[in-house]
């Protein structure tokens, strides 16, 4: 109806609600503002107020850091991160899709125990298996190698992806497949030609999630990569503020560049992830 009518009588309660929410929003956003302030300030330390000079120096320095062989370090590390995340997300997606299809469409021995095995891997973080993985990678010569990271990353999100995709495949009506079987299509043709095209959005979201997980992973990369040129961005960012180094400005600039794409991606896929989290995390 008429907006004006409402506007005249804003109840005190509503104002109070908004004030509380705004206050909480400021607290929530404060660390973000703090990073922006650090990133655009001309010094490597912190400044005390929001006033002061603003420069792009940190961003410029960040991308012109070179190693002893005068290669551009940060650009290489960005490439490392992109390379590792994209390839491991792709491999993980391929592995998860076919497994999820089996879990969704077939009855077989070990289905239940298979699902609970997936659950177990979901519960235990990478740090628990970090030593065996370290020794394994050392043995097969993939320590200090991007392919080693890809190997590890590509399977970490597979269980979650299986849960997500199984949930989606379950919603695709079986009648479509039955019709295809009548026309003489094989199981594999159905999977490739019918199921996959139908579940494109779910595949995209699962793939994005795997990508983000690999993109944000820190501790495995920090443990397995010993040389700066193999670092992924998270490891480099941490090294800016390590024990002997406090270049907060560079760290802030780097973290803005790293976070911005994933924050936007996350806000985009968040709604779809929530369902998968509880379904995959607990029920199975």
């Amino acid at each position: 109806m008429t907006k004006k009518h409402y506007r005249r009588y804003i109840p005190f309660k509503t104002i109070l609600t908004h004030l509380t929410l705004i206050f909480l929003s400021v607290i929530t956003l404060y660390p973000v503002l703090w990073v922006f302030k650090m990133a655009f300030s001309p010094t490597q330390g912190f400044s005390t107020s929001l006033k002061g000079d603003y420069t792009l120096n940190n961003f410029i320095t960040l991308f012109t850091i070179t190693d002893s062989e005068s290669n551009l370090l940060m650009i290489r590390q960005f490439w490392n991160s992109i390379f590792v995340s994209v390839i491991s997300a792709f491999i993980g997606l391929v592995l998860a899709t076919s497994a999820a299809y089996a879990f969704s469409r077939f009855e077989f021995k070990g289905k239940k125990s298979g699902m609970s095995a997936m659950l177990i891997t979901q519960m235990f973080p990478g740090v628990l298996v970090i030593i065996p993985l370290y020794l394994i990678l050392d043995n097969i010569g993939l320590l200090n190698s991007l392919w080693g990271l890809i190997l590890v990353y590509s399977t970490t999100t597979v269980p979650f992806s299986i849960f997500m995709l199984k949930g989606y495949f379950d919603t695709i009506p079986k009648e479509i497949e039955e019709a295809a079987v009548m026309d003489g299509a094989s199981q594999f043709t159905i999977f490739i030609k019918i199921i996959l095209p139908l579940s494109r959005p779910a595949l995209a979201i699962t793939g994005l999630f795997s990508f983000m997980t690999a993109w944000n992973e820190f501790i495995l990369a920090a443990t397995f990569m010993g040389q700066e040129k193999y670092y992924t961005v998270p490891v480099m960012l941490q090294s800016f503020v390590g024990a002997f180094n406090t270049q907060w400005g560079l760290f802030a600039a780097g973290s803005i560049i790293v976070s911005l794409p994933v924050v936007i991606l996350f806000l985009y896929v968040q709604k779809h992830l929530v369902g998968g989290l509880t379904a995959g995390g607990i029920k199975g």
């Binding site: 929410l21 973000v32 650090m38 005390t48 519960m123 298996v129 973290s255 509880t278 607990i282």
Partner: protein, 555 residues
């Protein structure tokens, strides 16, 4: 008639099993011999003995004629005076023809020069440079140094690959014989072939790993590696053979083949993903458990049964007052998890309840703002908060000064350090609970509230008797999940407080990490810690699984 037939079959198969076992043992023996005798080890062994002889000779004679030493092992021998400046005055390989590779070659040669030169720093030494072994002997009297540079040893993998023929011949033999002796429609045919192939692939990969290992080690270690490798190989052969026999005696094979054939399609779909998870999640988990029975000190492994567990749970590390001790850390972990979940729920639910109000403006904007902490990668969050807790410049201390308090040195005191971790994680974790609550609130049917209003219930009564009971089952999975996440929140602890002071704010998972990577590589301790965490989480999962299924049954 029927009995006779089946009897015949059993005789056939048992003969065949004997044959297979025989072939396998033969293969294994030949194979382990090949690994031992591959040219890498021979060469290195020779280099070692040869260099020992050289050293002895030089000790006696002081110098030696260059030509008598030139064997096929040593590509070049360089004699030079110990120069005063460090410019590495000679180039090892002077005949460079191809100009394209010239620059790269020059670079590598100058590095080799450096290695040769450096090797002369010691009285006599053996060092390694890119597949070559440099044996140096320097004579103090004549101020001369002799460097023996071995030929490049990089064909090691090839010589290891040579052994594949034993494996291939074995595989072909077994499959061939199985096809002759086993009737066509018997499933043993398939499974035997699969087992033989797997067995041989395993050996092949195993040998590659050993050779790879050998390449990265010093001469001293390689000989011991091959020795232990022989016994290892032998033990593995015996175990596999026993498994193989046990498999047939218990007739497990028939059951297995039947299931495999019956559910062929789904198993094929699962195979790639399942294999990946098995190799990179479960195999490390189990090898971690095995590792927890070993004591590791300076790279030496020794099997010590439960001594790591004893140390952690009963022995020296169990002291509750010791911040590195298990019970202390466990206590911190439990408190950490409980307090975090409480605040996550409190803040998350309150915000969700406010946002759920009908007709609230800017609802979308608010919910996006409140999700942001969840969206930012958590290692970045942790580092941001670490900077905010900085003693001199951090914004939190600035705020305290603004309010008229003293600056706090957050990470020198256990309590404040814990608080810093806590603030970070509360900020990080409440959006998840908020989102989950918002979802759950929308599933509560509105007519319940209408009925309550009709009955004259107050807002508080509505919340207590409708909202809360309806939220409980919906939120339970999220709480269970949140507890696991917080229990394992490595990044926040590791990056914000870093366990400071004296690892008193470490939780179990960071403590386990430190034992492995920050305290002289005590992998055994760390693995035992990890196993204990695994057991705790497993029990937790088991219990909560029962609770949540009970909840569902009640509904």
């Amino acid at each position: 008639m029927k009995n006779k037939e089946s009897g015949k079959k059993i005789i056939n198969i048992s003969y065949f099993i004997l044959f297979t076992v025989f072939i396998m043992i033969l293969q294994g023996l030949l194979y382990s011999k090949t690994i031992k005798m591959n040219s890498l080890n021979e060469k290195l062994y020779l280099i070692k003995t040869e260099s020992n002889k050289l050293f002895q000779k030089m000790e006696v004679e002081g110098f030696i004629k260059k030509k008598t030493l030139q064997t096929k092992l040593f590509e070049n021998i360089i004699e030079f005076k110990e120069a005063q400046d460090k410019r590495y005055p000679f180039i090892y390989n002077r005949n460079l023809k191809n100009s394209l590779t010239k620059q790269k070659q020059l670079k590598e040669d100058s590095l080799l020069d450096k290695a040769i030169y450096d090797s002369c720093d010691n009285h006599h030494s053996i060092s390694k440079f890119k597949g070559r072994y440099i044996i140096a002997y320097s004579n103090n009297k004549s101020n001369k140094c002799y460097s023996f540079i071995s030929t490049k040893i990089n064909q090691t993998l090839d010589s290891g690959l040579g052994a594949i023929w034993y494996l291939l011949i074995g595989v072909i033999l077994i499959i061939l014989v199985s096809f002759i002796f086993i009737p066509k429609n018997n499933k043993n045919r398939v499974i035997l072939s699969v087992i033989t192939i797997l067995y041989n692939t395993f050996f092949y990969v195993y040998s590659l790993i050993i050779l790879r290992n050998a390449q990265n080690k010093d001469i001293e270690n390689i000989i011991s590696i091959t020795k232990s490798n022989l016994t290892q190989t032998f033990i593995i052969i015996i175990i596999i053979t026993l498994l193989f026999i046990g498999f047939y005696v218990t007739k497990l094979n028939e059951k297995l083949t039947n299931t495999l054939i019956k559910y062929k399609t789904p198993y094929l779909y699962i195979l790639p993903g399942g294999l990946g998870i098995a190799l990179l999640s479960f195999a490390p988990l189990f090898s971690g458990i095995i590792l927890s029975f070993f004591k590791v000190k300076y790279g030496n492994y020794s099997f010590t049964w439960f001594s790591n567990y004893y140390d952690i749970l009963i022995g020296g590390l169990s002291d509750i007052a010791n911040p590195e001790g298990f019970y202390y850390t466990f206590f911190i972990t439990v408190i950490w998890t409980a307090v975090n979940i409480f605040f996550h729920l409190l803040i998350g639910m309150s915000i969700a309840l406010v946002l759920n109000k009908k007709g609230l403006k800017f609802k979308k904007v608010y919910s996006i703002i409140f999700i942001i902490p969840w969206a930012i990668p958590n290692y970045i969050t942790a580092l941001i908060w670490k900077s905010m807790f900085h003693k001199q410049f951090g914004s939190i201390n600035n705020f305290l000064v603004f309010l008229g308090f003293e600056r706090i040195s957050w990470f020198t005191n256990t309590f404040t350090s814990f608080l810093a971790n806590l603030f970070t994680n509360i900020w990080l974790g409440f959006p998840f609970m908020m989102v989950m609550t918002l979802g759950a609130l929308q599933s509560i049917p509105a007519h319940l509230y209408d009925a309550a209003v009709m009955d004259g219930a107050t807002k508080w009564q509505q919340f207590k008797y409708i909202t809360l009971p309806m939220l409980k089952p919906a939120l339970l999975p999220s709480i269970i999940l949140g507890i696991i996440w917080t229990f394992n929140m490595f990044n926040v602890i590791y990056l914000v407080s870093g366990g400071e002071p004296n690892s008193s704010t470490d939780i179990l998972i960071t403590e386990a990490y430190r034992w492995a990577f920050e305290r002289n590589g005590r992998y055994g301790y760390s693995a035992a810690y990890a196993t204990i965490i695994f057991i705790v989480l497993f029990l937790y999962n088991h219990i909560t699984g029962k609770i949540s299924s009970k909840g569902e049954a009640n509904d």
